[in-house]
Each structure stands twice: as C-alpha cells, then as structure tokens.
Amino acid sequence: MLVQQLANGVFLGAVYALFAIGYTLIFGVLDILNLAHAAIFMLAAFVALSLAGLGVPLVLAFALALVVAGLLGVLLDRVAFAPLRRRNAGTLVPLISSIGAAIIMQGVARGIWGPDEQRFPANALSTAEIHIGSLTVGALDVVILAIALVLMGVLSYVLRSTALGRSIRAVAADRVAAALLGVDIERTIALTFFIASALGGAAGILIGLQYNSVSLDMGARIELKGLAIIILGGMGSVTGAVIGAFLLGAVETLSVAYISSSYRDAIAFGVMFLILVLRPTGLFGKRALRAA
Amino acid sequence: MTSLGFAEQLVVDRVSVRYGGVLALDAVSLEVPPATVVGLIGPNGAGKTTLINAVTGVVRPASGTIALGEARLDRLSQHRVARAGIARTYQNIRLFGALSVADNVRAGAYRRRGTLSDDAVRELLTRAMVRDHELERRAGTLPYGEQRRLEIARALASEPHVLLLDEPAAGMNPRESGELRALIRAVARLGTGILLVEHDMSLVTAVCDHVLVLNFGETIAQGTPAQVARDPAVIEAYLGTGAADSEHR
C-alpha cells in the first residue's frame, strides 16, 4: 500500500516538476512571477489533443505541441514582459501583465476549443498495466515518467554544459554584468522563455494523457501548486523545484491515502506559507540556479 | 526653530556591534552636546556607517549604551529613535521620490504635533538652502544637489535634538559645499547637536568642534580638527601601513 502510494506520488511529482521548472527558470532569470505559465500548460495540452485528433501520431503531436508552447512563451515575453523590462517596472506590473496575457490565452482557448472538457482519441492511449509484486502501474504512467525524466536530464545538461546554459546562468546572476561580458541578453531571455514554456507545455500534455482529460481550468488547478513547489524548493532553484515537486507529489498521495483527501491541498499551501514565513529562501538554499 | 538650550545631549557609551563573528564597532564612545558639531571620520569600512546604524536603531549594539538626555535609545526600534528626536540624512539620498517636495518636508515633521503649513514648509526649504520652492514638484525630479538639500530640510523639519549627516557634501561642487558649511553652522548655532560623517576634510575642519577618528571599529584619535590632523595614527590610517612603510624606506 505504502509503496503503491509512493509510486503514484512519483508519477504525479514528475509532471509537477516539469511544470515548476518552467516557473522557477523564469523567476530565476527575470525575477518575475509568470502567471501565464499555466495558460501555456493548458494550451499545449489542447494543441496536442487536436493534432492527435487529426490523426497525427501521438509522439509527433507531443513534439509539435512542445514547439508551439515554446514559441508561445517567446511571444509572451515579447508582448507582455519585454516592454516592461525596458522601463524597469518592478514586480507588481509584470505580474499583472502576465495575468492579462493569461486571460487572453484562456479566452482564445475557450474560443477555439469551447468550454467543455475533452479526451484524447480512444485508440491513442495504452491502457496496459505492469505488475511488479503487489505494485500495479500503468504502462502509460511509466512512459510519462520516462519522458519527464528525460526532459529534466536534457535541461540539466543544457544548463550545466552548454554555452546557452552558461548565458542563462550569467543573466540570472547579474544581467548588467552578463551584458558587459558579451551575453546577448534579449536572446538569452527569449530562449529561457522557450525552454520554460516548452517544459510547462510538456507537463500539460502529460497530465492530459495521465488523466485523459484536457480542460480550460486544468491550468488553474496546477498554477498555485506550482507556486507551492517553487517556494518549497527556493525561488529560482531548478534542483529545488524538482525536489519540491516530488515531495509535493508524495505528500499529496500519502495524505489522500492516510489522512484525508479533503485537506490535501491545504497541507501543500500550509507548508508553503510556513516556509515563506520561516525560511523565505526555501528548503534548498537560495539561488541554486545562479550557483549551479 | 529649535531654540537654544532645549536640545538634549546624545551620549554613546562603549558601544560594540557584531556582524556574525566580526566586531564592526569596538567599545566606541562619543558625545554630541547641544549646539555642537562632532565630526566622525575614518577610512572606508572603519565603522562610521555602523555607528550611525547603531544610533538610529537599525542594528542593536552587542554591548554599551546609547542615550539622548535621560532616554535610552539602544533598545528602541528605528521609528521610536526618530520620534525621540534623532534625524538623519543618507549617504545615498533617500527621499520619497514620487511624493511632492512639500510632502517630503511634512513627512519629516511626522513626529511633531499637527501638520506643517505651506509657509512653514517654505521656511524650512529656505533654511536648508533649497532653491526651487515649487512645493508640488515631485521630489525625485529635482537635480542632485537640490535633493541633498531637500533631505536636510526633511531632517530639520522634525526639530531634532541631534542631526546625523551622512556624507552630505558627496557630489557637491565647491560653491555648494561652502553653502553647506554655512548651513551646518547655522543649524548648530540654534542648539541642535550635529554628528557629521564626511570625507571632505576641509568641510570637517571648517565646521567641527570635535572630531573622532575610527579605524577597524576602534577610536584611534579624537580632539579638535587641528589636533586630529597632526595625529600620527590618523595619518597612518589614511595613508595605509604600506604607504607609511615605503616612506620610511
């Protein structure tokens, strides 16, 4: 029973992690809270679903939807954040403009796909199950976990070992100094938005697959959990976000199993509130993105 | 405005401040009597700012006492120190930039009863030698020198017992710093005690009655400006040990 719950927690945590990494990357690099992240998460799931509905193989639909999500992220930056960067607008204003962008994306999604929940084509998803001792896991869950881990691995490699990763870390640490060192700031920020939004989109598609349900409000449900995760892990810390996501996944599944499902989310937000009050840098130190 | 004889004396008695393991201020004592200008000088990192922070309640002393007249300041929070009658200016100007010139001065008078009339505001601006008397102008849009003087006007508005000036001459041209000299003297003459942190030695020499020299958190010399300027320890602190050594060779 415990092992089963922990396994469920891992599947949930992996998708949370993908979502939260995008959040925290943008905060780490730009110090802004991007509340449109959840809208891109939702849009990517709808795009993948539509492509799958048109008969595009699921793998290709997934890849194309990631690119769409990434490009939406770049567009979001150009429209909602870049103009504010030029006039040093502080923290409140970009937060609001991201809400504006989210409202627009939400409206567009409602216009295109309508208000109702949608499902992937019946034959698109495997319903096979794998049994390991008393443990039962869906083959789909395993695939989703594998995809999430691969994407995190790729991101980790990019951040640590590529020129782009070095640029991103430099901009996160000190934008002015990075510019003096010859880093193309705007290009780095655009690529950060591409990566962050593509990962957020991946999370949306994977959650859509996991529950076989894509809906307009799926973003709202994960948006605030993502906040709890990045607070848990320390704002701007990618490693922290991943650990925080798996912790939250485990706590959620365990609390449903052993305490009560009704207060599940209150635990996450309660912990988040306590961390903010007692240790605002999160559990894993501060600015790990900058130090990594 | 502050009338002679009503100001209280600031007494800093053997105050030490620790940041983590570092002793930033080591048993420093000083007095700022009414109508007196006390200079506080020393190389960068000597503890001048730490002393100001201790007096204004930004940091708590690890030991020692700070008192204004009969009242102990060293256990008070920042705003209570200000209400007790300690006013200050900042090394990096900290005006309420989006507020009007008049509101900045009025905010300075916050500890006093009532609100300043426009005439009272203008009088303070005049005393602080602010040239532009457009009361509704946003403070942040004033030129640099005017902002420095407005900050002094804001501090004077509280009718303080003691005024702390943190490098007021920074960025001023010779003419402006000459005016500042006259301003400091005028304020002191009316009874306010002034603690002046400054790098401009000619200003310190011209206005201070007493000078205290800090280095590495310790008092290394004090006396009249002339005495301090002759003190070998002061010369060494300013020129650095390396410089002194190479001169010997």
């Binding site: 403009s97 409206g107 937000f269 | -």
Partner: protein, 274 residues
Amino acid sequence: MFEFFAHHSKLIDQIGINALLALSLSISLRAGSLALAQAAFMGIAAYVSSIGAVHLGWNLGGAALAGALAAALVAAVLALPIGRLRGVFLAIATIGFGEITRIIAINWPITGGAEGLSGIPNDANTLSIYGTLAVVGFAIFLFGRTKLALAVAATREDESAARGVGIDVAGVRMGTLVAGAIVAGLAGALYAHSNFFITPGDFGFGRMEQVLVMCVIGGVTSSLGAVLGALLMTVLPELVRFLHDYREVSSGAILLGIILFSPAGIAGLWQRRT
C-alpha cells in the same frame, strides 16, 4: 431610465460590490504591500454574515458589521507572520493563505462545503451597496487629508527612510491590511446578501485576480481609478457578448494595453489630459 435600472439592477449591484473590492485592495497597495488576500477576507465576511443571517437571524446591518469585523480580526492576525515579507514573496504567501481559507470553507460542515451555503436572505439592494460605497469612499477621502495618509505614502516610497522620520512601518502595513479587510469584508457580506447562495469557489484565486486587475486598470493607488476599473471590468464582458466564447480576450487585451501604454492606469490617462 427606470426601466434601464430595473433591467440591469443585478449588474449595477455587481459594479458596486466590485468597486468596494477594488478600493479595499488599493488601500493595502497604497502602503506598497502586494498582499493578495482580498478574496479570502471577502469570503470570511461572506460566510460569517451568511451563517449569522441563516442560523441566528441577523439583519443585514448586523451581519455585514460582524462579517467585516471577522475579516479585520483575521487580517490583524495574518499581518504578524507576513510582516517581514515583501514583493512577490508577500504576494505568494497571501495567495497561499487565500487557498487555505478556501479549502477550510470547503471542508467545514457549517459552511455547507463545496456545494455552498444557501437560503441567505436577499436583503442587500442597490441602495445598501451604493450607500456602503459612498461611506467607504468618503472615509478614504477624509483619511487622505490626515497625517497618516502621508505616513502610508512614505512607507510605499521608502520604508527605511519612513522609519527614519518616525513612521511605524509595521503598524502602517498592518493598519492598511486591516482597513482593506474591513472594506473587503463589507463587500463580501453585501455579495452574499445579494445572491441567494455562496460557494467557496466564489472567493478563490480567480476572484483575487479579478480584483487585482480592476485595481491596476484603475491606477493602483487612486480611489477613483479603482472604482472606474471595477466599472469597466464589470461592464465590459456584457458589452462584448457578441464575441461569444472569445469574450475574455477583450478583458485581457485592455489590461495588457493599459499596462503597456498607461502605467498609471485609467487614473493616469485622466491626469495626463488635465
């Protein structure tokens, strides 16, 4: 004219309530605190006033006052742990507080849970809503002429310099949070008493976003702006019904447009012209 009011009375009431909410947020934004707990304060007051009315037979006035008082108490307690937080961290902590409040409302038997609380006497009318709005507006106007208003503005501009002139910054921040909670509480009570029933979902993050948007569109710290922002954002969805499912896009576009082109909101447009 009368027919117009009768036909749109629901919308007119909604505008008044939203104006109160936007005003309540602008009060705490005035001190520079990005505390986003208005929806929670509104919800607390809505439930207290409704439960009082349903179970104890309170009239509207008593229920609204009790609700506002409850919201104020919660705000005063909340102010202590969040006192050190600023900027985005304060925003996130208060969003978390709002979620916890909502989840408690879902699970507490007396609130009627997720299905909501029904049978609330429908005794708030246009007069009581706009009467409250007028009283709150007048109170804010009077406050603006006091020395405390200057302390609030100075706190927003530079907390450290504010302390340096003797302003109790922690007190100012707590005071504005509590004052904002009272106004949000009045709005919550009126909201509950002009709808037959309420659910925890009425007071979630979506509501908080709406209020924030109205406030920012109006111009953050301008009271008149907050009211205009509430008016615009409440009426707009009705005006663009022809866009059908694309309706939301217009709200988002107006919000983005104002942020990008008039940083001081509608109030800023006004000031620029005069």
